[in-house]
Every structure is written in structure tokens, then in C-alpha cells.
Amino acid sequence: MRNLLPVLSVLGALLVLWYLAVAPMNIRVALDQVERGGATVIPEGSVERRDVSVWRLMAQNSAHVKTGYALDRPRLPTPAQVGQELWKTTGAMAMKGRAWSKRSLIYHGWITLQSTLWGFFLGTSLGIIGAIAIVYSRVAEMSLMPWAIISQTIPIVALAPMIIVVSSQMGVDGRGFPKAIISAYLCYFPVLVGMVKGLRAPEVSQLDLLKTYDATGLQSFLKLRLPASVPYLFTSLKVGIAAALVGTIVGELPTGAISGLGARILIGDQFGTPLAIWSALFAAAILAGMLVTLLDLTQRLALRRMGMQA
């Protein structure tokens, strides 16, 4: 509860800023609309207005500023409009039993979620296996680690179309698989780095102690390194799942996909419906928030069960 006040103040400030920004962002569209409706606008004609700054337009046509808050196709929708659109395409449709309609964000979110989870699973597995190899083998550390770092410097938007082309060449049907690969590509890195740190977390004296017991390598891995890495694992899983979601959405953008939140964003852009873009954006943010919260709860539960809640 103590944290709620600062969080809410920041949220409130953002909303105020957003509402303030709507006026200058939408003034041109609003003036065009009221002019078509027969109202007098200074200066007349949208070509005339092109060279006039939005501030001046707002000052000269102050009566029409409020129109910018209720446009059908605004440059920048108001938070309330986004909220209404979001509700219209999720809750309202679900209540009418049309949650799985192609126009429902629940359906598109589910498509995105599936790829995200596959990518997360794949990326996490790769990250953990890579970390184990790096911690136990100097050769792996020297050969794997630089490539892991280089892999993250390549812009994913450049790589995504290639992955899609390659996977379709290899005869993989559907878009789920390449999307999961792109998602895994973004997600494995934080898990790899976190797990390397986690598996190396035990102190030298703790490793020495196991040596005095003449413990095998497997025993010291299972009884010391693995449990010691659990807090690190969860921290990197939380970063990883968010990255996996971003990866999936990026994977949906250049593929000409027609379903998924990324496809909604792209289609909204192509058809000039900013409301669709914004609501898909918020749906993605809400989805990411839910996934991270879920992992956070799992982490608390796991650490408490392990007795590490100090």
C-alpha cells in the first residue's frame, strides 16, 4: 500500500500530460472536420493551415479545440477513447460470446501469447543450457559468450524477416514457429547472463566444503549451484518473458500476419485507424504486465518454500 501513492501520482501525471498533448496533436484534423461541417476556421482551407503552427491554430480557433477530443480518427486518441476501444474489443465482445471473433483482441492476444510462451520456453531452455556449459567449460565460455553478446547487437527487425523466409523455405507451415524462434532469440540472453551469474554465486568456501566431502560434480551442481541460482533465475525470467513478448510482436509485424497483436498494430497503421493501434498496444502492455506478475508470484512462492524469505 505504501507503494501505491507514488505509482498513482506518476500514472496521474502521465494521464494529464497525455490529455494536454491531445489538443495540439489533433487540432489540424479537428479544424478540417469542422470546416467541412460549415464552420468558419482561421485561416481557411487545410492547405493554408499547413504552414501555421499548431499553437497559433489553437489560439485562433479556441472554440474548436474541444472537437479534437472526440474525433473518429484522431492522430492521438484520448485515454478514454483508448479505454473504450479496448473494452469494445475485449470485455464487451466476450460478454456477447464473441471472444474468439477475428475482431476481438482476446483472440489476437491469445495468438501472440501462444508464440510468446513457446519462445519463452525455448529461449529459457537454451539460456539455462548455455549457462551450464559456460560455467563448466572454459572452452564454451570463450566460444559461446562473445556470440551471445554479438547476437544481441543485431537489430531484431532486420533479422525477423530472414528467420521467416528460412523457416518457410524449410517447409515449416504457419507463422507460429518462426515467431517463437524470434521470441526465443530475444529471450534467451537475459536468462543466459542471469544463470551464469547465479550458477557462479556460491562462494569459494562453499565449493571447498563440498570438495572436503569428496562430492561429485553432479552432486555439487544439484545441491549447491542450482539452488543458489534460483533467485537469479527468476529475476532473469521476468526480463525474459517481457523480451519474449516483444520478440513475438516484432515477429508479427513484417510477416504479413493477419492475427496477433503485432498484426493488429500493423493493420491499424495501414488502414489509418490509430485507435486500433493504441488499443493493441495497451493489450500487449497488459499482457506483459500479467505475465511478469505471474512470474513474480511464482518467485515469491518458490523462495518462500525454499526458506529464503529473510
Partner: protein
């Protein structure tokens, strides 16, 4: 002087030595050139001895303990533990090691921590439970089996780590400044407990410490070491009785031995750096 002392010891006791070091050398190669951590160390430790190693930092006391444990390999010289090489002794689980920091696993209960070596060494489930109960009572921690380390004080954690070293039947207990991080009052109490434990279990204990009173109070023999190169400068046989109440530390006999230890430390160390 070390050789003289050990010679005297073997003449009064015929049993096989638990630890025998002969002309032991250990040199670490560092970027600043070689560091002589141990130089020509000769020492014999007999069964049932309580030997303390005392000296300033860098005198090689911890390094020597680690050599006995097989955690470091001497550059030259001979070292035997229980008649074996240190590495064989380690594989035979001949000793329990207590580090300066208790190093309990935070994700295991106290009982779980004591069970750790038993699990690794393959003791049966019933045997483990019995040993955990027994060793917990040896260090006065009955009823703490289900507690987690963070729920215990530093002194209790260190007692739990001693219990962990006692849980399997090693005859030798190697302790590297086990009470170094604890305050004076807790330390006194644990010293007294450790002596009782030593008396009742007849283990051989090698104990590294910084504290002169602690060394004198606990030991049957005190090995005084000095740095650069790490070497033994004196071995003092304690004349104190086996039964040692805490107020023994005010007797002239105790102070006399403490004085000799201090003299030994001063002789071996020029305080130049």
C-alpha cells in the same frame, strides 16, 4: 625448534601420528613473483591432540590447514594424514572442515544443512535422522532442526556448521578461525563448548586462530607461525590440565603460557609491515 618439539612428543607417545609434515614447502606463483606461503614446515600431530596455529596474517596457518585438507598441494616435502596422502584422506572423508564463515545453505533448514554431507556420502535415511539429532544436541541446538539459518544468531550458525562437520565420523576436525567473526562473549562460550566436545569425542583438532587467549585456553599444543616466508617459529606444549574451566585464564600458569606465545610471535615478526 619445531623438530625438537615433535621429537619430544613422539618419545612420550608411541601411537601413529595423525598428521606428519616433513620439510613442507608451498610457493604460490603470483604476478609479483613467488610467494613462499610455507617454508620448511615440520610438524607431527598425534591422535587426540588439540593443536592451535597462531600467527599474523600471511604466516601460512590457513594454508597449512588447507594442505592437510588436500585443498592445496604442497610444492615439495612430505605430508601424510592418517597414514595416507592428504588427497586420499580427503577421499576417505577423514576430516571435517569448519570455515570462518558458517556458510550454511540458506535454502536448507539447520537439519537439512547437517544432512548435506550425509546425503553426499550416502548414509541411509534413518541413519541421517539419528545423526542430525545427535550432533544437534552435541552443539546445544536441540529444537532448531526445522529453523532456517537466517533465524539463528551468528554464534548459533557457527555451532550448526560445527555440527555439520561432526555429523559423519571423521576423526579429525580442521577449524579455520571458526569463531573469528564472533564477539568475545559468544566466543568464550563456544570455546568452552568446543573443549567439552573435544573431551567427549576424542577427536584430533587443528585450530587456526588470531587470538592468544583462545589458543592457550583450548590447546594441548600451540604452533606459533610467522610470515614471509610462512614458517613455524615455536611449538609450545601446554601444561594446563585437560579439565579447563573459564577462570583458568586468570591463573599464573595460563598467563605464563600466553606470555611465551606472545614472545614467540614477537621473535618471529619484526613488525615492519
Amino acid at each position: 625448534m619445531a623438530q625438537a618439539a615433535s621429537g619430544q612428543k613422539t618419545s612420550e607417545r608411541v601411537s601413529d601420528p595423525i598428521v606428519a609434515a616433513e620439510n613442507l614447502n608451498l610457493t604460490f606463483e603470483t604476478n609479483d613473483g613467488p610467494v613462499h606461503a610455507l617454508s620448511d614446515v615440520n610438524l607431527t600431530i598425534n591422535k587426540g591432540d588439540f593443536v592451535s596455529f597462531i600467527g599474523p596474517s600471511g604466516c601460512g596457518k590457513t594454508t597449512f590447514l588447507r594442505c592437510i585438507a588436500g585443498l592445496e598441494t604442497p610444492t615439495s616435502g612430505a605430508l601424510s594424514v592418517n597414514g595416507m596422502t592428504p588427497d586420499e584422506a580427503r577421499r576417505a572423508r577423514a576430516y571435517g572442515y569448519v570455515f570462518q564463515h558458517a556458510g550454511l545453505y540458506p535454502w536448507r533448514t539447520i537439519g537439512g544443512n547437517i544432512r548435506l554431507p550425509l546425503e553426499i556420502m550416502g548414509y541411509s535415511e534413518a541413519d541421517r535422522a539419528e545423526r542430525v539429532t545427535r550432533t544437534l544436541s552435541m552443539v546445544d541446538l536441540e529444537g532448531f532442526e526445522k529453523k532456517y539459518p537466517w533465524q539463528l544468531s551468528g554464534g548459533m550458525q557457527q555451532r550448526a556448521s560445527i555440527a555439520r562437520a561432526l555429523a559423519f565420523d571423521a576423526d579429525i576436525l580442521l577449524m579455520d578461525e571458526p569463531f573469528g567473526a564472533l564477539d568475545e562473549i559468544v566466543r568464550d562460550h563456544l570455546n568452552e563448548q568446543l573443549l567439552k566436545l573435544w573431551d567427549s569425542t576424542e577427536k584430533t583438532i587443528c585450530f587456526v586462530t588470531h587470538s592468544i587467549p583462545e589458543a592457550v585456553y583450548l590447546s594441548t599444543r600451540i604452533v606459533v607461525m610467522s610470515p614471509r616466508p610462512g614458517r613455524i617459529t615455536d611449538v609450545i606444549e601446554s601444561t594446563l590440565p585437560r579439565e579447563r574451566p573459564l577462570d583458568l585464564r586468570e591463573t599464573p600458569e595460563f598467563l605464563d603460557i600466553a606470555h611465551r606465545v606472545r614472545e614467540g610471535l614477537r621473535a618471529g615478526h619484526s613488525y615492519d609491515g
